[in-house]
């Protein structure tokens, strides 16, 4: 059917008063009261949540004298990027005045290996649980998923004892292990559900073709797993980057992630409270997850649809 045919038919159908004439052509756009209300609500809600962001950005671009005037919503009179530079390089946490940058690199050092290792482990877990079921596989899976409901605070103390007994407490490998363990339930669930939706005949065909456990995984399953891997990366990067509790407990002072450093900068009580620097530091810390959301919003929604809702 081409557009030409449709237009050719139209004049005849515009003839008035054909018996039993019903709707014809494109659906008319209606602006109903409900629609207007819905959009009004959405806009108001968006504004409500954007106000703090606006204040943060505006404040971070003002100098301290301007902030003291107290005009919270005013645009900066003399925009300055000095607070951003200070936050990155010179802000003080206690006696050290190196800014946020060491925390940033620490966070990278924690996040990248944790994300990679946890996703590799979880994808193998999900693959094995789906395609190579063994006695007790379902029980193990149930146990793993149950792990997602254990409150973190309950296991912190036993974990400290355990890690310090093997000499990994307060170290980079220690915090990576902790993040990997706590990512396992939700990621395994994610990958298992993804693989369960793949027709089992694909696996059978590969077996008939002579492929074994690892070859099926690397040559057939892994190339198909890109969508779910992206979802897992988003979940893990945002989760681990935003983590504060594990970072402060398990990383050790030299490896404290950005979130801990930010807390220390904001809570340093000596001298003047530099609101502009605090605001800039907060935006800098939140920038990485924010960037991830913006770049991969489409995939993230898909992940939520796949049942990967994490608080």
């Amino acid at each position: 059917m081409t557009a030409g045919q449709i237009t050719a038919i139209q004049p005849a159908q515009e003839a008035p008063d054909q018996a039993g004439v019903g709707p014809l052509g494109p659906k008319p756009r209606r602006i109903s009261a409900g629609r207007i209300g819905l959009y009004a609500f959405l806009i108001v809600a968006a504004l409500f949540f954007l106000i703090p962001v606006y204040i943060m950005i505006v404040t971070s671009l003002k100098g301290m004298p301007e902030i003291r005037l107290g005009h919270l919503f005013n645009l900066p009179g003399e925009p300055t990027f000095q607070p951003w530079a200070d936050a990155w390089l010179h802000a003080c946490t206690g006696r050290d005045c190196n800014g946020l940058s060491p925390g940033f690199y620490n966070s990278v050092k924690i996040t990248v290996p944790s994300v990679v290792i946890s996703i590799i482990c979880a994808s193998i877990n999900g693959y094995a649980l789906t395609f190579w079921p063994y006695k007790g596989a379902n029980f193990l899976f149930g146990l793993l998923v149950f792990g997602a409901f254990v409150p973190y605070q309950v296991v912190i103390y036993p974990l400290i004892i355990g890690l310090s007994s093997v000499g990994l407490f307060a170290s980079l490998p220690g915090i990576i292990i902790v993040h990997t363990i706590f990512g396992m339930p939700i990621l395994t669930l994610l990958f298992r559900n993804f693989y369960a939706a793949i027709p089992v005949e694909l696996f059978k065909a590969a077996r008939v073709d002579g492929a074994g456990f690892w070859r099926i995984f690397f040559h057939i399953m892994l190339p198909m797993s890109l969508p779910i891997t992206v979802v897992a990366v988003i979940l893990q990067v945002t989760g681990i980057w935003n983590d504060f509790l594990f970072g402060i407990v398990f990383a050790g002072r030299p490896n404290w992630p950005m979130t801990v450093q930010l807390n220390n900068i904001v809570n340093t009580t000596t001298g003047v409270r530099e609101y502009n620097v605090n605001m800039a530091a907060t935006i800098l810390t939140a920038a990485v997850p924010l960037l991830i959301y913006f770049i991969s919003g489409r995939w993230f929604v898909r992940g939520i649809a796949a049942g990967a809702v994490k608080g």
Partner: protein, 364 residues
């Protein structure tokens, strides 16, 4: 067809999942180069049996031989089998060529040998122009052809087909059915083919194994199964429209046996009994296409009846009557379609009938 020796031999095979028994001490011998179809309703264990032969399911009891070698606990790849699945099961990230060569690459076959085998398979299946495409860019029929090619390149002794045509539309199904038959004639391989479609079974098979509840009911040539079903289940499962069944009694008066249902008495002088019959309740089966319609006298059994419903099906028409107080269908060519409530005469030869025991359902 070279039918020397046994290609696949299944001996006392049982399979159970926990307490649920799926296959019960099943025996099946498939000759070299034979085309055997496993036919049955869903849940009868036919696909399960095929998976057992392929080595994708571990059996509970029994032995499986392929080409005289005991492969009961061998890996699928070591059994000399190729398998074609209903959902095609092509590797979505690989081109057709990579799909075909995957098994060979796993086995470490040299590159020039792989190229040679792919060229041959592609020529046989006429998929040469598709080799560089991804499966997602193929139609259903093309995909299934590639799936068959994947079994073809591996140079196997036995082809296993698991409902390969069920995902295709009716027209393509008919086309590929013929192609599979031609392929079998060309390759002369042993083929075991699972389907629930009786037309596929009848057209393709050298022998059909009709299964129900994990047990092979009858294993015979298609015509034998059609004409002399061993029990009521097989009789009802094969044939479309389905066979007429009439409940009644087997009676002997004088020296002749009769089948009686209400006012109907069918003489059984021409019927070949399996064994010496005894009087008692029985089921009389007659295929709708074996009943003569308005064709005069001369039949061992003749009757008149009123037409109840007429179902035109294009090439012919199914006429529903009442005979002996029970529904009875007759297949009529479409030119002779009667009107509703017409009185018509029918006749048939009980030689073509099937009589079943009312209790056990087995053939009398």
């Amino acid at each position: 067809m070279a039918q020397n020796g046994t290609s696949v031999s299944i001996q006392d095979l049982s399979l159970s999942f926990g307490v649920i028994s799926v296959l019960h001490t099943l025996n099946l011998d498939v000759a070299e180069g034979e085309f055997v179809v496993l036919l049955g309703p869903s849940g009868c264990g036919k696909s399960t049996l095929l998976n057992c032969i392929a080595g994708l399911l571990d059996i509970s009891e029994g032995r499986i031989f392929i080409k005289g070698k005991n492969v009961t606990w061998e890996e699928p790849k070591d059994r000399g089998i190729g398998m074609v699945f209903q959902s095609y099961a092509l590797y979505p990230q690989m081109t057709v060529e990579r799909n075909l060569s995957f098994g060979l690459r796993v086995a470490g076959v040299p590159k020039d040998e792989i190229a040679k085998r792919i060229a041959r398979a592609a020529e046989i299946l006429q998929i040469e122009p598709l080799l560089q495409r991804k499966p997602s860019a193929l139609s259903g029929g093309q995909r299934q052809r590639v799936a068959i090619g994947r079994a073809l390149v591996r140079d196997v002794d036995v082809f296993l087909f698991d409902e390969p045509l069920s995902n295709l539309d009716a027209k393509l199904r008919a086309e590929l059915r013929v192609e599979i038959k031609l392929l079998h004639r060309k390759l002369q391989n042993t083929m075991i083919y699972v389907t629930h479609d009786q037309i596929e079974a009848m057209t393709l098979a050298d022998r059909i194994a009709v299964m129900k509840g994990g047990v092979i009911q009858q294993l015979d040539a298609p015509q034998t199964i059609y004409n002399r079903p061993v029990n009521r289940f097989v009789a009802g499962f094969l044939g479309s429209p389905a066979m007429n069944f009439m409940d009644g009694r087997l009676e002997k008066d004088g020296g002749d046996w009769h089948f009686a249902a209400e006012d109907v008495r069918i003489p059984l002088a021409t019927y070949a009994f399996e064994k010496e019959p005894t009087p008692g309740p029985a089921v009389f089966g007659m295929r709708p296409e074996h009943v003569a319609f308005n064709s005069g006298a001369g039949w061992p059994f003749a009757a008149t009846a009123n037409v109840e419903v007429v179902e035109p099906m294009g090439s012919d028409t199914l006429v529903w009557l009442k005979l002996g107080g029970q529904n009875f269908t007759v297949r009529v060519t479409s030119e002779r379609t009667p009107n509703n409530a017409d009185t018509v005469s029918i006749g048939f030869d009980p030689m073509r009938a099937s009589l079943f025991d009312a209790q056990t359902g087995s053939r009398l």
